[in-house]
Amino acid sequence: MSDFAVRVENVTKTFRVYTDRNQSLKSAIIARGRNKFEEFVAVDDVSLEIPRGITFGLLGHNGSGKSTLLKCIARILTPNSGKITVDGRLAAMLEVGSGFHPNLTGRENVYLNGAILGMSKKEIDRKFDAIIDFSGVERFIDQPVKNYSSGMYVRLGFAVAIHVEPDILLVDEVLAVGDMQFQEKCTEKFSELKADGRTVVVVSHAHDLMRTFCDEVAWLQNGRVIETGDAMGIVDAYANKEHRARKVESGGVRFGSGESYVTKLEWIVDGVDTRTCHTGDEVTIRAHYQSEIEIERPIFGTSLDSREGVFVWGHHSRDAGYVVSSIKPGTGSIDVRIPSLPLRPGTFDVSFSIQDRTGTHVYDALQRAIRIDVLTGTPIESGGIMTFGSSFENIQPPRPIAAG
C-alpha cells in the first residue's frame, strides 16, 4: 500500500483546435487532409501526488487545465505523455445522471448507472435501498426518469455515484446540487468518506468552498502547477492574485472611436485607490484620460453594475450640470464624488465613458473596468442591493420600545 492515492507524473495533454474543422468526406477529399489545427496545451508537464485519505482540490481559472487533468485522472481522456497511477477503486462524478435513459424507470436507471460506474448487480442489490433513501425519490422510483424534475434527476444520479463507495472520488463542480437539505446530506456523506480514509479530488473555481472543504490544493494556471500544499494558504494566495489580475486587465470590454480614452479608473476611499470599501464610505471615482484631439463640451459618464448584471446606478456630467468647455489633447483626470455609498455588501463593477457634446458619439466606453467589493459598514440594512438610511418608528397604538 503506497502513501499516494493518485500519482501524476509529467502528464501533458494537448488538444487539437481546428481552425477549419472538416468532418465530411467531401472536404476531406478536397482539402486532402489539410485539416488545419493548432495544438493547444491544456495540461503542461504536470506532476502531482495526492496523498491517501485527504480531500484534494484542483484550483484555477477556466482554462487553467484543472478539468482536463481531472478527466485524465478519471481515464476519460488519455494524456499525450506522462503517467498517472491510481491506487484503488476510482469513481468520477463529472456530471451525475449522465447515463440515465429517459424512457427507463428510476429503478432500471439505478442498475444501469451503477453498472456504468462499475458496480456489480449484487452490489447494487445490496445498496439499492440506501441509494433510494439518499435520493429521496422513492415515490417515483418506478416512473420513467423523463418525468422527473431536474432536481430529482440530479439527486438520484448523485445518490448512485456516491454509493459506489470508491477509494478515490473525483468531483467536478457538482457540490451545488439540490436544495439545502440535500446539500447537507452530501456534505455529511463527504465527511463520512473522509472519515473512512477515502480520497476525494475536487475541481472548482469557487475558492471559498475550496478553502473549507479541502485539506490540500494544487493551483493550476495555463496548464501548469503554480503551487501545491496546504489549502488555506494557497487559496488565499490565489484569491489575492485573482484580485490583482482584475485590476491589471482593466477589465471587461471597451468600445468607441478611441480619439480620447480612459487610461485608468480609480476607486478612492480615504485617499487610497482600493477595491474594497464599506457601506456609507465617501468614495471618489477618478478617471484618468488621454486625448489625441480637443473635445468641446465632452460628456463623462459612469455607472455601476452588480456582479449579477443588475444596472444599479448611472450618472453623467451633463445631467450633473458639470459641463467642461473642452478638454485639450494630452492627459488629465476627472472625479465623481459619492458622499456616502448607499450599497449593501456585494460585488459591483464600475464603467466609465467619454462621449461628445450630444451624447451620440462614443469616444471611449470602458465597461466593467474594475470590480469592487462592498463590505458591511453603516448603515446596516437587511436585504437587497441598496441602503436607504431608513428607520422604523411610530408604532400604533404607542408601545414602549424595548431595544433600539
Binding site: K71, L77, I116, S120
Partner: protein
C-alpha cells in the same frame, strides 16, 4: 490495496455490456401499446410486402428446400430478410453507438468498446426472436426436425454477430472523423441488400450472367463473373448459411463455413485494430 485484477475489469465490462444491451431492448418499445410485438410486426409486414412483390407479381421462385421439401417463397424470403436486417441494423446501430452516447463517454470512464458491442447484442436479441418465430412456423409445417439444426445455427449466429461487431467497430471510429459515413451507409446498405440475394435466388444471378454473355457482353471473351462477385459478398454467404439451415435443413457447404469464418475473423481483427489505435482520441473528437 492493489489495482483490481484484470479479470475483474473484464467481468465488469461484460456486466456493463449486458446491462446496456438490456437498456436498448427495454427502451426500444417502451410505452407503445404493442410493446415487444412491434419487433415482430415490422419484419412481418416487410416479408409480406416482399412476398407479394417479388413472389406473386414478379413471380419469383425459391428453390425447394433440399431436405425439408419446403416450397414456400415467403419463408425463403423471411430467412433472408431477418438475417439481412440483423446484419445491416446492427452495423448501423454499432456505428452510431459512440456518437449517440457522447454524453456518457465524456463523463464516465468505461471500456469504450462496450457501447458498440452492446448495440450489436441488442439487435441480436431481436434477431433471435424473429428466428425463433420462423423456426416455429417451419416446425409447424414440416416437423420438429428443424430443431436439430440449433447447435449449428448458434455457431452461425455467433459468426454473423462477430462479423457485424467488427464492421461496426471500424465504422464507429470512422464516423467520428467523417460524419458523412452515417448517411452514406444508408445508401450503401440499400445497394448491398439487393447485392446479397435477399429477394432473389442465386440461380437468377447465374442466368443473368449467361444471358449477358449470349448478348455478346463479355470481358476478354469470358462471361462477366457476376456470380463470383455476388458470392464474394459476405452478406450473401451468411444468408446462404441461414437458408441452408432453416429452409433446407442442410448443413452449409464447406466453402460457406470457411468464407464466413474468414469474414468474421478478418472483420473483427480489423475492427479491433482500428478501435485500439483510435480509442484514446474518441472523447476529444466527439
Amino acid at each position: 490495496m492493489v489495482n483490481p485484477p484484470f479479470s475483474a475489469e473484464v467481468r465488469g465490462a461484460i456486466t456493463l455490456t449486458w446491462t446496456l444491451a438490456l437498456r436498448e431492448v427495454r427502451a426500444q418499445y417502451n410505452r407503445t401499446a404493442l410493446g415487444r410485438l412491434w419487433s415482430l410486426v415490422n419484419p412481418l409486414v416487410t416479408i409480406a410486402t416482399y412476398s407479394l412483390v417479388f413472389g406473386l407479381i414478379l413471380a419469383g421462385q425459391a428453390p425447394p428446400g433440399i431436405n425439408s421439401k419446403l416450397h414456400f417463397f415467403s419463408l425463403w424470403i423471411a430467412v433472408g430478410l431477418v438475417t439481412w436486417t440483423f446484419l445491416s441494423s446492427s452495423i448501423a446501430a454499432g456505428m452510431s453507438a459512440l456518437l449517440g452516447n457522447a454524453g456518457l463517454l465524456t463523463k464516465v470512464h468505461f471500456p469504450r468498446v462496450v457501447l458498440v458491442v452492446s448495440a450489436v447484442i441488442a439487435k441480436a436479441a431481436t434477431f433471435l426472436t424473429e428466428l425463433s418465430v420462423i423456426m416455429v412456423i417451419v416446425a409447424a409445417i414440416v416437423g420438429p426436425k428443424i430443431f436439430l439444426m440449433i447447435p449449428v445455427l448458434v455457431v452461425f449466429i455467433i459468426l454473423l454477430a462477430v462479423f457485424c461487431t467488427g464492421v461496426a467497430l471500424t465504422l464507429s471510429i470512422v464516423v467520428i472523423w467523417f460524419r458523412d459515413i452515417e448517411h452514406l451507409w444508408g445508401l450503401f446498405s440499400q445497394v448491398w441488400m439487393y447485392a446479397s440475394g435477399v429477394v432473389f435466388p442465386v440461380t437468377l444471378v447465374a442466368s443473368a450472367s449467361t444471358r449477358l454473355f449470349q448478348d455478346g457482353i463479355s470481358i476478354n471473351g469470358q462471361p462477366i463473373p457476376l456470380l463470383a462477385v455476388f458470392r464474394a459478398n459476405p452478406a450473401e454467404q451468411f444468408i446462404e448459411a441461414f437458408r441452408a439451415l432453416i429452409y433446407d435443413f442442410a448443413l452449409p457447404n464447406w466453402d460457406i463455413w470457411l468464407m464466413t469464418t474468414l469474414w468474421a475473423c478478418g472483420s473483427l481483427t480489423i475492427g479491433t485494430l482500428v478501435f485500439r489505435a483510435k480509442q484514446a482520441r474518441i472523447v476529444e473528437e466527439l
